[in-house]
Symmetry: C2
Subunit: 294 residues, 2 copies
């Protein structure tokens, strides 16, 4: 299948399924429900849930088994965007081509909608009708990746680095690996755990995830310089404006692209553990990450 | 044992144990770690973890078994206070006699410290060395109570009600039950699940929790009017200032106190299911909730 077609199909599955994980509309406080629903349906590539489903399939599972962790991860990703966009953080008004949650609703509602989504992710995971041991492993994998030694820490480091000119490459790598990398790795790894992958297979998925995660963030840095705002759906040039040191600062646009391609090569060679017929989609997804324009 | 002594001992256990659940200090982004640690150690009655341990004991368990859910619940409670205090929410600068987290650090760090604590709670629960089925039940209980049909919804409703004069008693009850009640109930219920309580016992703990949770919030409303700021450790009179409708608005100070005592009577009669020797502490805790001055 063409990758473009595949991405479209899988995105449609998540767009449909994720709404099933919303709770009932409450008698009071409907604004929270509306803000959560708005944030979940306003677009996005659904890359993380797609990786989760693909990780499940590559170890021999069925993608439908992985729908719960896939949607939980997308909820966590969405919460992180809502909070990152807040005035006290990145102060962004445009995301995925639409007003950010705080801009559309208000700050308090956006803070609570983020809290609600993070919480909801663990709620749906705990209610997942699945093998108890694997379920706990998936909850552990996701919570570690999104937590205070994972994504939240990455965002803190990103805030701390803003406007500083003395950010080293080591620090920048730390930021990227935590802010973006860890949850991308957790996506493909939780899929692998769900599908019953062996320890060796999970290790391979981890290497793959770490490499594509880093490449993904490097390309994000590149797109912030050379991207088309209409395609990306968010304000470009914001890194420079905020005085952020990025991969482009260190290596220039071409150098950064080269680094991203190197990571993708690493990811692809890790995949050799799996039969050629099975690993094809993860390979294509890796290529998509460096070639994407949005 | 005297209740005062018991509360002091149990608080000391939590004060000590909760720090063990912090992750290692990261090489970058230490500010996040510091804000989390500050928020966890700045005081508080530790009522929820004490209820969790007591719930475990009343069904025949050992309180030490319940330390993980007890500390996880205190992390969730702490995160909710950090976010509630933010300028976009209640805009409070004083809590437990100390500067609030955003006031001591900054808004972005406080948002992230809250996120980190909510996330960390599920991380430590997933890593808890305990029976898989009970562990999942506890995660489900806690996540439902704190989530978008629980505590987060309560806070949203509280924000929506601010300044409105048409808040009905039904709406106020909904706010109180969600904002405060659900997590208090989940505290004692998770303790009961941890200790291996029967379905009937868990049902009783739920009734007990619902009643003391409501009484707790009613007394909070009362203390905001007649409390001593030095004892409570937060600004008093803030409900009136913010135009909040409370139990005191509906029933006056004495009427509200009477309502709280009625709830405590309900809680105590529910406890009759347990042997007199075993239920004594939960009874004393219920009385403490209406008689407290802080």
């Amino acid at each position: 299948m063409e990758l473009k077609e595949y991405l479209k199909e899988r995105k449609a599955i998540i767009d449909r399924e994720i709404l099933k994980y919303l709770p009932s509309v409450p008698p009071f406080g409907k604004r929270l429900y509306e803000a959560v629903k708005y944030s979940l349906t306003v677009g996005g590539k659904r890359l993380r849930p797609i990786l989760c489903m693909a990780g499940c399939e590559v170890v021999g599972g069925n993608y439908e088994e992985a729908l719960t962790p896939a949607c939980a991860i997308e909820m966590i990703h969405t919460y992180s965007l809502i909070h990152d966009d807040l005035p006290a953080m990145d102060n962004d008004t445009l995301r995925r081509g639409h007003p950010t949650t705080w801009y559309k609703f208000d700050e308090a509602t956006a803070i609570l909608a983020g809290d609600a989504l993070l919480n909801r992710a663990f709620e749906v995971l705990s209610q997942w009708n699945f093998d108890c041991d694997r379920k706990i492993k998936v909850i552990e994998e996701i919570s570690k990746a999104s937590g205070m030694l994972g994504m939240v820490l990455g965002q803190q480091c990103d805030m701390d680095a803003e406007g500083r000119k003395d950010v080293t490459l080591e620090e920048l790598l730390f930021i990227h690996r935590h802010k973006t990398g860890r949850l991308i790795t957790a996506s493909v790894v939780s899929g692998g755990i769900t599908g019953g992958g062996s320890e060796e297979e999970i290790g391979t998925l981890k290497k793959y995830g770490d490499s594509i995660g880093l490449a993904f963030q490097i390309i994000d840095d590149v797109l912030d310089v050379i991207g088309d705002q209409n395609k990306i759906g968010k304000n470009v040039g914001s890194d420079l404006e905020k005085g952020k040191v990025t991969f482009v600062t260190f290596f220039g646009v071409d150098g950064a692209k080269r680094k991203a391609r190197e990571e993708i090569e690493k990811a692809i060679s890790a995949l050799e553990l799996f039969p050629a017929k099975k690993n094809e989609l993860l390979k294509k997804l890796a290529h998509f990450i460096v070639e994407r324009e949005y």
